[in-house]
């Protein structure tokens, strides 16, 4: 019940769906600043596996995360075909590496289902809910959980 109430908070119904390690994920369109083609980034020394490095976004230095590694899936072997989704977390731009962007989908908030209980704690935290789109499951990412604070990156 409580989760349903939470789902109501998702008031905008436009989502951008994309694939990460073969799975379909989506983010609210208002969370996304821009989508860029992957370019080699500058590696940060001593950074964990899910932090790819930093990128120059029109004069600003922004960190790039590998979403796949962050979700505990295999590391993405980044190439030209991949995309970086630039989102805004805590008012700071952050880049997320995804395999490819699929489409923009329109969702009625009532169609969002709560995440079924699974064993993986991480997954539960990172996924806000799921929706069914063309008989495929699309996971809604809880951005604040994925990138809780910019400080955590190098720790």
């Amino acid at each position: 019940m409580q989760l349903q109430a939470e789902a109501k908070h998702v008031d905008h119904s436009e989502f951008v769906s994309f694939t990460v390690a073969g799975q379909a994920f989506c983010l609210k369109i208002t969370q996304i600043r821009e989508i860029r083609r992957w370019q080699p980034v500058t590696v940060l020394p001593h950074a964990p596996a899910d932090v790819l490095g930093v990128m120059n976004l029109r004069g600003a230095v922004i960190p790039i995360y590998d979403l796949s590694a962050r979700f505990g899936l295999e590391q993405t072997d980044a190439s030209e075909r991949n995309v970086v989704i630039v989102v805004s977390v805590h008012d700071k731009p952050v880049g997320l590496l995804a395999e490819s962007v699929s489409e923009i989908i329109s969702i009625d908030p009532d169609d969002i289902q709560e995440t079924p209980q699974v064993d993986s704690r991480n997954t539960m935290d990172f996924i806000q809910g799921i929706i069914s789109q063309n008989d495929e499951m699309v996971r809604i990412i809880n951005l604040d959980a994925v990138i809780s604070s910019p400080e955590q990156v190098a720790q």
Partner: protein, 728 residues
């Protein structure tokens, strides 16, 4: 609307509080002359005036009491003894608290408030007039409200006016007599004729005026009303208006008059210094009159000190040595935007340079010359913009005086703060962010450093401890030092605490320097019982973090029984630095030039193995440990003895030398510092990032932390010390 006027008021308050603190400090030093006392009085009075306009009753009431006491001091009814000075200090601290509360909301400690009011009241005569200060309504009709701040001062001031009409003035039908008459309406006027310039009869020219007047006007009217009298003859006469305080600055006026250009005092930068050819005649009691090119700045600081500011006239502006220069108040945002733009300009330059280098043209020499000019210009602009942000550390230091006062009061110790190098200019952000770490260090110095008066007496020291706060520029960086003459660090105790807290193993062998640096470990606090002063559960690691965030570092030096010195070394600017572009394991990185002593290409002969995996580089007979940057940053897994090729000899803050091994050196250039703060937290070995000409990001290395990391991890401690001994 009201909001912005209030903002102006609070901005002014800050300046006034600074002026007040400066004045009080001068008084404490023994400078009790009338002008100093007046300056403090004016500051308090202006705060009261402004506060009254905004209906800040509590502030007004307190300022009034404060001011009344000061008025008595001014009129010599009260003598400034040690006790009163201390009270005035506390009152000034409280006044500044009240201002802060009025601005940010919040409540002052009312008990403290009452105690101070009472203490001040003891000095005030019974028959003192009651406080009548009508708060004015603050509303839409209140736009010109900034005016009371300007005119709030109603005390009597004596102006010395020197007036020399040009012949054009007579030609336009003006008559000095009427001007003097108008002046005498303002207050008490005395007029004397100065005929010193009168030439011999045969040298006189028809129609020329050789006469000048010296007038002395005592009035309560502001300077502007005197200027108003001369409004119609502006440009037709040479005029100087000075107050009593200026008298000390008087230089030989006639000589100045005779010279084609005025000769001001050396401190006035915009004065052209022209040597005097004629021998100076008898000194005349008149203020300096110099023709100075002064730009009228529309938004001149409107503090009461502007009464003393030379009034800029088209033809004759007055030079005065001690007066503040005209300033322009600009929002910080605008400056920061400019700084960002300049940063982009510099990046843009290097992009252009790179493009041209890649160009397939046969002759790019002309373009390169122009590009070099572009670079110089960009650098000039950048330096100019940086200078705007640079501010003297004086206000910060003044605030620290208060910290020491409060800390000594709370601990029952006696300590006095001596500040040196207050005029040192540092980036505004640095100053702001230094306040917390400095506060912490100073509190520590009083709490842990300075001994109790009894202990001090027992060791033959003066009862009052001295804390010396110094700021100085040192080769591209700013050095701020806090030096106390207390007991020095108790190394045995520090070591024991570190062991107790599990910060170091029990059998750790540490040298003195390393023990001192234990203080900076997180979770270290020497106060056995938490005093409410410095031991708040946060230790010196907070200081270190704050300073590291600013791109600087902290050092401790201590001599038992003689005291400790904390030095904070900071970069001059936060935005741009000179760096050496190097490549490390295929990555392009930047090393700050300031850290590099020497660069050299190495060959196998120069490398000596020491122990299992220690290597030393021999440089002209001395041996320096080698630190491989790539492996230190975790970029190269195998540390096999592939000689890296190029060595950068760096020197750390505590004098250790180390050779950083990199693959190659490419270039030396100015880079724009992009903070990684908020991007990815603290990365060991890296201080910031920058954007290179190709648009890629490069890490700016922090040699200090690379050296520290590698020496603590790899090489035996003894080896290092030995090699240090050899190197130095």
């Amino acid at each position: 609307m009201t909001g912005s006027i209030m903002d102006t008021f609070f901005e002014e308050c800050e300046e006034l509080l600074e002026a007040m603190d400066a004045g009080l400090a001068a008084i404490e030093e023994g400078d009790q002359d009338a002008e100093t006392v007046n300056a403090v009085f004016r500051a308090v009075h202006s705060i009261k005036g402004g506060a009254g306009a905004f209906g800040l009753d509590e502030l007004v009431a307190f300022a009034h009491n404060f001011e009344t006491v000061f008025d008595d001091v001014r009129s010599n009814k009260l003598e400034l003894d040690e006790k009163l000075i201390q009270l005035l200090f506390r009152a000034s601290d409280h006044l500044s608290d009240l201002v802060t509360c009025a601005r940010d909301g919040g409540q002052v400690d009312s008990a403290h408030h009452d105690v101070l009011i009472k203490a001040l009241a003891e000095y005030i005569d019974e028959d003192e007039e009651e406080l009548v200060f009508e708060p004015m309504g603050v509303g839409a009709a209140f736009e010109p409200a900034a005016l009371p701040l300007l005119d709030a001062v109603e005390e009597e001031v004596t102006y010395d006016i020197r007036f020399h009409p040009l012949k054009e003035m007579y030609a336009t039908g003006n008559e000095p007599y009427f001007l003097f008459q108008a002046l005498s309406d303002l207050g008490e006027l005395s007029v004397s004729l100065d005929e010193n310039e009168l030439p011999g009869f045969d040298a006189m020219e028809d129609g020329e005026n050789y006469l000048s007047w010296e007038l002395s006007l005592t009035t309560t009217k502001p300077r502007s009303s005197i200027e108003a009298v001369f409004e119609f003859v502006e440009g037709l006469c040479e005029l100087s208006i000075t107050t009593d305080g200026d008298a000390e600055a008087e230089v030989d006026a006639l000589a100045a008059l005779n010279a084609a250009f005025g000769v001001g005092s050396a401190e006035e930068e915009n004065v052209v210094d022209v040597p005097l050819e004629q021998p100076a005649p008898e000194p005349v009691e008149a203020p300096a009159l110099a023709e100075v090119e002064t730009v009228e700045v529309p938004e001149v600081k409107s503090d009461p000190a502007s009464e003393n500011t030379p009034v800029a006239k088209k033809d004759a502006a007055k030079a005065k040595s001690a007066g503040p220069k005209p300033t322009l108040r600009v929002e910080l945002d605008r400056v920061d935007k400019l700084i960002n733009a300049v940063g982009e300009l510099i990046i843009n330059h290097s992009m252009l340079a790179q493009q041209i280098a890649n160009l397939d043209a046969s002759d790019t020499r002309d373009v390169e010359t122009e590009l070099e000019g572009f670079k110089t210009l960009a650098r000039d602009i950048q330096e100019g913009v940086m200078a705007i942000r640079a501010q003297p550390v004086k206000p910060l230091f003044q605030r620290m005086a208060r910290i020491v006062r409060e800390a000594s009061a709370a601990t029952g110790k006696s300590a006095k703060l001596v500040t040196v190098g207050e005029a040192t200019e540092v980036d505004k952000t640095v100053i702001e962010r230094l306040a917390d770490p400095l506060t912490h260090i100073l509190r520590n110095a009083v709490d842990h450093g300075i001994e109790t008066p009894e202990d001090r007496a027992a060791t033959g020291k003066e009862k009052a401890g001295e804390i010396r706060l110094t700021a100085a520029h040192r080769s591209g960086s700013v050095c701020i030092e806090v030096k106390d003459d207390g007991a020095g660090l108790n190394r045995k105790k520090i070591r024991q605490i570190a062991i107790d807290k599990g910060l170091i193993p029990e059998n750790a062998e540490l040298n003195d320097n390393e023990i001192d640096n234990l203080l900076f470990l997180p979770g270290f606090s020497t106060a056995s019982e938490i005093s409410n002063l410095s031991g708040r559960g946060v230790g010196m690691d907070v200081v270190k973090n704050a300073v590291t965030k600013l791109g600087g570092r902290v050092n401790i030096a201590s001599t038992p029984g003689r005291g400790s010195t904390f030095s904070i070394i900071l970069p001059l600017t936060l935005a741009v630095m000179d760096g050496m572009v190097v490549s490390v394991a295929g990555h392009t990185m930047v090393v700050p030039i300031t850290a590099i002593v020497e660069t050299m290409r190495g060959n196998d002969d120069m490398i000596n193995n020491l122990g299992a995996d220690g290597t030393l580089l021999s440089i002209r007979g001395s041996f320096v440990p080698i630190c491989d940057v790539a492996s230190s940053l975790g970029l190269r897994r195998d540390t096999t003895n592939e000689p890296a090729g190029v060595y950068l000899l760096v020197e750390t803050e505590n004098g250790d030398r180390c050779a950083l091994a990199v693959d190659d050196i490419h270039d030396q250039r100015q880079v724009v510092i992009k903070s990684l703060d908020g991007v990815c937290g603290n990365v060991p070995g890296v201080s910031a990032a920058t954007i290179l000409g190709d648009g890629k990001i490069a890490m700016i290395l922090d040699p200090e932390s690379i050296v520290t990391a590698s020496s603590s991890a790899a090489v035996f401690d003894t080896d290092r010390r030995m090699s240090n001994a050899i190197a130095s």
